[in-house]
C-alpha cells in the first residue's frame, strides 16, 4: 500500500466511524422518542436496526486490525487508530443501550411516576453523545472536557430520578395501583435510568479517547 493509499485508508476509517455514530445517534433519538410516545412500531425499528450498528462496528474493528497489521501506525496515526477502535466499541454499546430503551417502550403503558422525567435525562445524554462525536470529528480537546463535565449533571439527574421511585415504593401507592404493575413500572424505570446513565458514561469515554487521539492526553481516561 502506498503512503498516499495509507492516508486515504485513515480518512476512510474516520468516515466509517462518523457514519456509525450517525446511526447510533439516530437509534438513540428514536429509542427516546418511542419511550416518550409509547410508540411500539418505532421501538421495533430501533431494535431491528441494532444489527446494522453491530455490523458497522465489526467492519471498523476489522479495518483497524488490518491497518495495525499492515502499516504499524505510530504517533498520531497510532493514537487515531487506537482511539477510533475504542470509540467504536463505546458507540456499539450505546447502540445496545438504545435497543434496551426501545425494548422497555414495547412493554406496555407506563402507569406510575409521572414526576420522573426520563425524557429530559434522555435529551441530555443524546446531546452528550452528539457533542462527543462532534469533538472527535473536529479534533477539539476543549469540547472533550465539556462533555466530561456534563456527566456530573447526568449522574445527579439519574440519582434524583431513582430516589423518587424508591421513595414512592417505600411509601406505597393508593389502592388503585396494583402491586404487580407498580413493580413492573418501577423496574422499567430503574433500568431506563441506569441505561441512560450508561449512555452518558460512554459519551464521556468517546470524549476521553478523542482527547487522547488529539493530544496524547489521558486526563479523561478513567
Amino acid at each position: 500500500m502506498s503512503r498516499w493509499a495509507y492516508r486515504a485508508e485513515l480518512r476512510d476509517l474516520r468516515e466509517e466511524l462518523l457514519a456509525m455514530s450517525d446511526l447510533v445517534c439516530e437509534a438513540l433519538q428514536r429509542a427516546l422518542d418511542s419511550l416518550e410516545e409509547r410508540d411500539a412500531a418505532l421501538a421495533r425499528r430501533v431494535i431491528e436496526g441494532d444489527d446494522e450498528i453491530n455490523e458497522r462496528y465489526l467492519a471498523i474493528e476489522g479495518h483497524c486490525t488490518e491497518l495495525i497489521a499492515r502499516q504499524q501506525p505510530v504517533a498520531g496515526d497510532m493514537r487515531f487508530v487506537v482511539a477510533t477502535f475504542k470509540i467504536s466499541t463505546d458507540l456499539e454499546r450505546i447502540g445496545d443501550l438504545a435497543r434496551n430503551l426501545a425494548t422497555y417502550a414495547t412493554r406496555g403503558e407506563r402507569h406510575a411516576y409521572p414526576e420522573v422525567d426520563a425524557g429530559t435525562i434522555g435529551r441530555h445524554v443524546l446531546a452528550m453523545v452528539r457533542e462527543a462525536v462532534a469533538a472527535y470529528a473536529a479534533e477539539d480537546p476543549s469540547a472533550c472536557y465539556t462533555v466530561a463535565e456534563r456527566d456530573a449533571e447526568i449522574d445527579r439527574l439519574c440519582e434524583a430520578a431513582s430516589g423518587i421511585v424508591v421513595r414512592d415504593l417505600l411509601a406505597e401507592r393508593g389502592p388503585d395501583e396494583s402491586a404487580e404493575s407498580l413493580l413492573a413500572d418501577a423496574s422499567r424505570l430503574f433500568l431506563t435510568i441506569r441505561d441512560l446513565e450508561r449512555v452518558g458514561d460512554h459519551a464521556v469515554n468517546v470524549a476521553a479517547r478523542t482527547l487522547y487521539m488529539v493530544e496524547g492526553n489521558d486526563d479523561l481516561l478513567a
Binding site: R3, Y6, R7, Q72, P73, V74, A75, G76, D77, M78, R79, E215, G216
Partner: protein
C-alpha cells in the same frame, strides 16, 4: 562434578570476579549517563554533517538513533569511539564525555577507547579465521590469554551462538550463515568486555528470523552493556530500544526521549511527520 568441570567452573568464577571488579568502579557512578554529548558537531571539509548535538546516553539501556538517509546518524555513532579520526577531511568539534572524560582530549588513546566502546557493523565482517579465533582475536591482542577457552565460550553464550557452534569451533567463520556471522561479530565485540556497544544497522542485511534473533540478543545485551544502535527500521527501534534519538535532514538531533514517547506522542511535528511517513 568431574575435576575438568571443576577447573572450568573455577576459571569462570575468576573471570567473573575480574569483570565484577572492573564493574564496581562503574557502579559507583551509577546515576551518571555513560556518555554525555555536548555541542558535538562534525564537518566533512566545508560541509557540516552534524549540527551541535547535546544528549545524555543512559547506562545499560538501548538507545536507538533513527532518521532519513544522510541525516548524520552514522556520523554521530562513529564520533563516539572516534572512528571518524580515520577520515582525513572530518573535523569534530564540541565534547563527548565517556564517564566524565572527553574522548577528544589529546591524552586519550583511540585504540584503548575502542576496547571500552566496541562496534558492530551493518554487514557481518568475520575474519577469515576459525570461529574460535574470531572471538579470541581481541582477547589475544589485550593479552587476556589465561582461560581463553572459558572467555570465548562466555562471549559466544552471551551472543546466543554457543549452542549452534560449540562442536565446530575450529571451522571457518565464513561457513556460518549471515545471521550467525553477525552474532559471531557481536561475540567478538563483547569478548574483551567493553562497556558500550555501537551497532550500525546490525540487522539490515539479515532475514526476518536472523533479525529477530539479533533483536532478542540486543535486549539481553543491555543487561550488561550500554547499546547505541543506528537503524533505518523504525519498528525495530520501537521494539528494542529504551531511548530514541531522531536526527533529521541537515544533521540535526531534533528529538531525544523515551522510545514510548517518541512513538506514541512525539513533541516535535517534524518527528511526527517523519515517523508517520509524511516526510522523508
Amino acid at each position: 562434578m568431574s575435576s575438568q568441570e571443576q577447573t572450568q567452573s573455577n576459571a569462570e568464577l575468576e573471570i567473573e570476579t575480574e569483570i565484577q571488579s572492573e564493574r564496581s568502579d562503574r557502579e559507583t557512578r551509577a546515576d551518571e549517563p555513560v556518555l554525555e554529548v555536548r555541542e558535538l558537531d562534525v564537518h566533512y571539509g566545508d560541509e557540516r554533517a552534524l549540527q551541535p548535538v547535546n544528549a545524555d546516553i543512559p547506562e545499560k539501556k538501548v538507545t536507538a538513533i533513527i532518521g532519513p538517509s544522510g541525516c548524520g546518524k552514522s556520523t554521530f555513532l562513529r564520533c563516539v569511539n572516534r572512528m571518524n579520526d580515520q577520515i582525513d577531511v572530518c573535523s569534530v568539534g564540541g565534547e563527548l564525555y565517556f564517564h566524565g572524560k572527553n574522548v577528544y582530549d589529546d591524552d586519550v588513546d583511540p585504540v584503548a577507547l575502542r576496547r571500552k566502546i566496541g562496534q558492530v557493523f551493518q554487514r557481518p565482517n568475520p575474519f577469515p579465521k576459525s570461529i574460535y579465533d574470531n572471538v579470541a582475536y581481541g582477547l589475544r591482542i589485550q593479552g587476556k590469554t589465561d582461560d581463553l577457552d572459558t572467555r570465548v565460550e562466555r562471549a559466544l553464550r552471551r551472543a546466543a551462538l554457543w549452542s549452534e557452534v560449540e562442536d565446530r569451533l575450529d571451522e571457518s567463520a565464513l561457513d556460518l550463515s549471515g545471521g550467525q556471522q553477525q552474532r559471531l561479530c557481536i561475540a567478538r565485540a563483547i569478548a574483551p568486555d567493553p562497556e558500550v556497544l555501537l551497532m550500525d544497522e546490525p540487522a539490515s542485511a539479515l532475514d526476518p528470523i536472523a533479525t529477530a534473533k539479533v533483536e532478542d540478543l540486543i535486549e539481553d545485551l543491555a543487561e550488561n552493556y550500554t547499546v547505541v544502535i543506528v537503524t533505518h527500521n523504525m519498528q525495530q527501534a520501537a521494539r528494542i530500544s529504551d531511548k530514541t534519538a531522531v536526527f533529521l535532514t541537515g544533521g540535526e538531533l531534533v528529538e531525544f526521549d523515551d522510545t514510548t514517547t517518541i512513538f506514541e506522542n512525539p513533541a516535535n511535528q517534524a518527528v511526527e511527520d517523519y515517523i508517520t511517513g509524511k516526510f522523508g
